[in-house]
């Protein structure tokens, strides 16, 4: 898929939604492979899911302001 789950998670945690959009967070299909394989048991898929919701709100606000 070409996504970097760790970066998407970190961008969400530091509240950098615009960077998450640049990193194609909306392309995530929430397959859960990242959470499945992560040896540190990070909640990647869950965090990215929340990040996508934030990104969707961000994008809708930007559309409205245009």
């Amino acid at each position: 898929m070409g996504l970097v789950p760790r970066e998407l998670e970190q961008n969400f945690l530091i509240n950098d939604t615009s960077k998450n959009i640049d990193d194609n967070i909306m392309s995530c299909i929430e397959c859960g492979c990242c959470s499945y394989i992560c040896p540190s048991r990070r909640l990647l898929a869950e965090t990215i899911k929340a990040g996508k919701k934030k990104a969707a709100i961000y994008l809708s606000h930007h559309k409205e302001s245009k």
């Binding site: 070409g2 996504l3 392309s27 929430e30 859960g32 492979c33 959470s35 499945y36």
Partner: protein, 326 residues
């Protein structure tokens, strides 16, 4: 009424591979080298390993306690760091120097950055370089192993011998290449004693997919090709490509250190460039630098480029029509 079900997002099952499982595989891969080095260097070798590992665990645990965090020693990363660090050092190193080195490796090299996964540089090599710069005499006094297949060696290591030969005579003594060399080398650091043991350990990591082949193959391949070219130009510039590959810490560095997850690139093109850079710098330092061994410095220098490699060599996201450079 208490909660009957705990509803969470998918996935609801996880892989069996945890951080400590990965570390156990690495420890298992190193065990053959550890055992052979203890056989060769005796009880002091075993003591060194014990001191390194114990000090690493103690420093990591203490730092976690001071920070008020849960101790991270259960993930066994400190054990791996301690073992790898011990394997890069001469078997004659005093114990107090070992403890100083482990402090820099664990606390300065890893914990101050936030612990495992946050460090930008390899912790074992960080500690090694601090010791090399601070105590050069202690770090370069090697001991010839009990079992060695190379008798006509004036120094303790082939790389050191090559440096001395060029400085003194202007030419290099060439050593025979045979299968016995792979079993027990001419000496060097604690972990370099048996190349076959290191190769077996590296193959175990590849088989279990703990590491990918890109970095070790490109690292070792670059060293081989570059030294081959140099030898074609002038046979007295350096030792043979075979001896370059099978001397010093190249196999240890290529399989166990350059492939550390947090200090190596994530993507394939970045890994290949990282491996080539490490190999190139290793040869430059070994042939033209002041030190006989360049693997540690090469890996640390390339560690600094990893964020850039990850940024510029990120694959395009599937379906993304964004035109990126690579």
């Amino acid at each position: 009424m208490k909660e009957l079900m705990n509803v969470t997002f998918a996935p609801h099952v996880r892989s069996n591979m945890t951080t400590s499982t990965i570390m156990l595989y690495v420890i298992a891969a190193l065990m053959s080298s550890v055992v052979l080095s203890v056989i060769n260097y005796g009880l002091y070798g075993l003591t060194l390993y014990g001191v390194f590992v114990s000090a690493a665990l103690l420093f990591e645990h203490t730092f976690c306690v001071i920070q008020g965090k849960k101790s991270s020693i259960k993930d066994l990363s400190a054990v791996v760091t301690g073992l790898l660090f011990a394997m890069t050092l001469p078997p004659t190193l005093p114990l107090w120097t070992a403890v100083v080195g482990v402090f820099f490796a664990i606390v300065v090299g890893k914990m101050v950055f936030g612990g495992i996964g946050q460090n930008p540089f390899n912790p074992a090599l960080t500690g090694r370089m601090v010791l090399l710069v601070s105590f050069p005499a202690l770090m370069t006094s090697f001991q010839r192993p009990v079992y060695t297949t190379i008798d006509a060696l004036s120094g303790a290591t082939i790389l050191g011998n090559a440096k001395t030969d060029i400085a003194t005579y202007g030419y290099i003594s060439h050593f025979p290449i045979d299968i016995n060399y792979l079993l027990f080398t001419a000496g060097g650091s604690l972990g370099e004693i048996s190349l076959i043991a290191l190769i077996i350990g590296g193959l175990l990591l590849l088989y279990k997919q703990i590491i990918s082949w890109h970095i070790p193959v490109t690292f070792i391949g670059t060293v081989f090709i570059f030294t081959f070219i140099l030898n074609q130009i002038d046979g007295n510039i350096t030792i043979s490509s075979f001896h370059h590959v099978f001397s010093g810490g190249l196999l240890l560095g290529a399989f166990f250190m350059a492939t550390d997850y947090s200090i190596s690139p994530m993507f394939i093109v970045g890994k290949i460039i990282f491996g080539i850079g490490c190999g190139f710098l290793t040869v430059i330092i070994r042939v033209y630098g002041g030190y006989p061994e360049g693997v540690g410095f090469a890996i640390l220098i390339m560690n600094a480029f990893v964020p850039m490699l990850d940024k510029f060599f990120r694959p395009n996201v599937f379906g993304d029509r964004d035109e990126k450079l690579f």
